[in-house]
Symmetry: C2
Subunit: 284 residues, 2 copies
């Protein structure tokens, strides 16, 4: 049992929210897994919808945008930052870790680790945006843990607009997925990492193309598990110190443009409660 | 014949470049038509690739971005500004005209006028981005000239990513176009305005879906004709004062992100010479 004053201090420290940012709405799949796994944690989500997407922009620009969005969230005294965007994780995670004195969790390492744990034939496929693929971040993350795993990569630029249009289970989605995945299908992989936060919504279509023998890794779930493990190891968990009867915390949403569009399209990504976003500016 | 000093002054004034901006690379279709029609005019093109696309962003954000890009071009002493982006024309043309003391030409009015001149049945379709369609700018522009024309609008959010992926003439493009245009096809229109600078690259596919009886209006060409007419009416034409033997002027390109990607993807839009873009910042 902790002495009362220290207990109070820890309570206060751990009541602080988790900050989550993404270029737009895709990161809501990560938020969804976090709120499901850690329902008592306070969360603040920022979607940089004025500059979305990050996937086709340069390392320099994505890093600058990521620092600006992180700086905004830091004003809310967050205890942990989740970079819920693959492109930002690929390009800016190092810069953010260097800059911030709270834990920073990206979406790439968790997905890479889960892929390594899942593959039996040691052949892993990764799909994502142009930027994420070009960065080689998944390749590096997988090779760093297990250099014997062979990695195959494919960018799928049309997947994000397809998801945002709501075309996740129709013939256009299937045809597009077929075109992008035809090469990967021939590589004998048994694991495919969905290396973009939009892609979990295309899971059924991607599974149809890849077949049952290929396991799909949802990096949103892998990231939520990583957040839980970091909170535990740094003694920052909120629920450890609370009665379990409390109602789940509601996320707070911020966007840099078009709150209405965020609410409308966001529903497809986050179905754990209403999405009412506040419009803010993050530009330095 | 003008007196020598006035002639010199006009020469100097008219030697100034035409400034053209777009959210990214789509406006290159407008630049292409301008350089073809007015080969002796100096041109400066700015693609705001750090914040592309504008099509799914709000009026306020698009107006702010448009003013920042226009302000950048003004530093080059341009004699006329072309807003080569439908969304920016829809949202920001009024604000730009108010702010600038040079002629400002958008892409919507020229396309609307050409559509009215082309329709025999007085039923016109317009396709474009979410933002352009939602703004109602084409509807207003057509109705202002001829209120008896019936206007049908359809946003086609996947067309831009399809074009940027180079999928302009394949089965995925045809399937997508079929889905978007099925309603318009039933409306008995005889003219369809391609209300987005990317769409001319999908002309063949769109024509296949709409059939021969529907004339497609390329607003890039309409805009170039409008630029010519404005230059003539304001005595700002360069070639009027020059020997016709001069070689065509080369456009100068600026982008706010990823010059390499601009060069690579831009080739599909602009084939009048090499594209070497300089990286600049336009944020206020």
């Amino acid at each position: 049992m902790l002495p009362p004053l220290l207990r109070l201090k820890l309570d206060f420290m751990n009541d602080r929210p988790i900050g989550i940012f993404d270029s737009g709405i895709g990161g809501l799949t990560v938020l969804r897994e976090i709120t499901r796994l850690l329902p008592r944690e306070e969360t603040i989500y920022l979607g940089d919808t004025a500059r979305v997407p990050y996937g086709n922009k340069s390392r320099e620009t994505v890093t600058r945008y990521s620092i600006e969005t992180a700086d905004f969230l830091l004003k809310y005294d967050i205890k942990l930052l989740v970079v819920a965007c693959n492109t930002a994780s690929a390009y800016a995670l190092g810069a953010l870790k260097e800059r911030l004195d709270i834990p920073v969790v990206g979406v790439i390492e968790p997905g890479a680790k889960m892929a390594i744990a899942s593959t039996r034939v040691k052949r892993v496929g990764v799909i994502g945006t142009e930027g994420t693929m070009k960065s080689g971040a998944y390749f590096d993350a997988i090779k760093a843990v297990d250099p014997t795993v062979v990695v195959f990569m494919q960018s799928c630029p049309l997947f994000v607009p397809l998801v945002e249009e709501g075309w996740t289970d129709n013939d256009a989605a299937l045809l597009t997925a077929g075109k992008y995945l035809v090469k990967l299908k021939g590589e004998g992989i048994d694991v495919l990492v969905l290396g973009c936060t939009h892609y979990p919504l295309l899971k059924r279509t991607i599974a149809k193309v890849m077949g049952e023998e290929v396991r799909l890794i949802d990096s949103a779930l892998a990231t939520a598990l990583e957040v839980e493990s970091v909170l535990k190891s740094t003694n920052l968990m909120r629920e450890e110190l609370r009665e379990k009867t409390e109602t789940p915390a509601r996320p707070r949403f911020f966007v840099t443009d078009s709150p209405e569009r965020f609410t409308r399209v966001g529903k497809k990504f986050f179905n754990e409660g209403p999405i009412q976003a506040e419009l803010v500016s993050v530009e330095a």
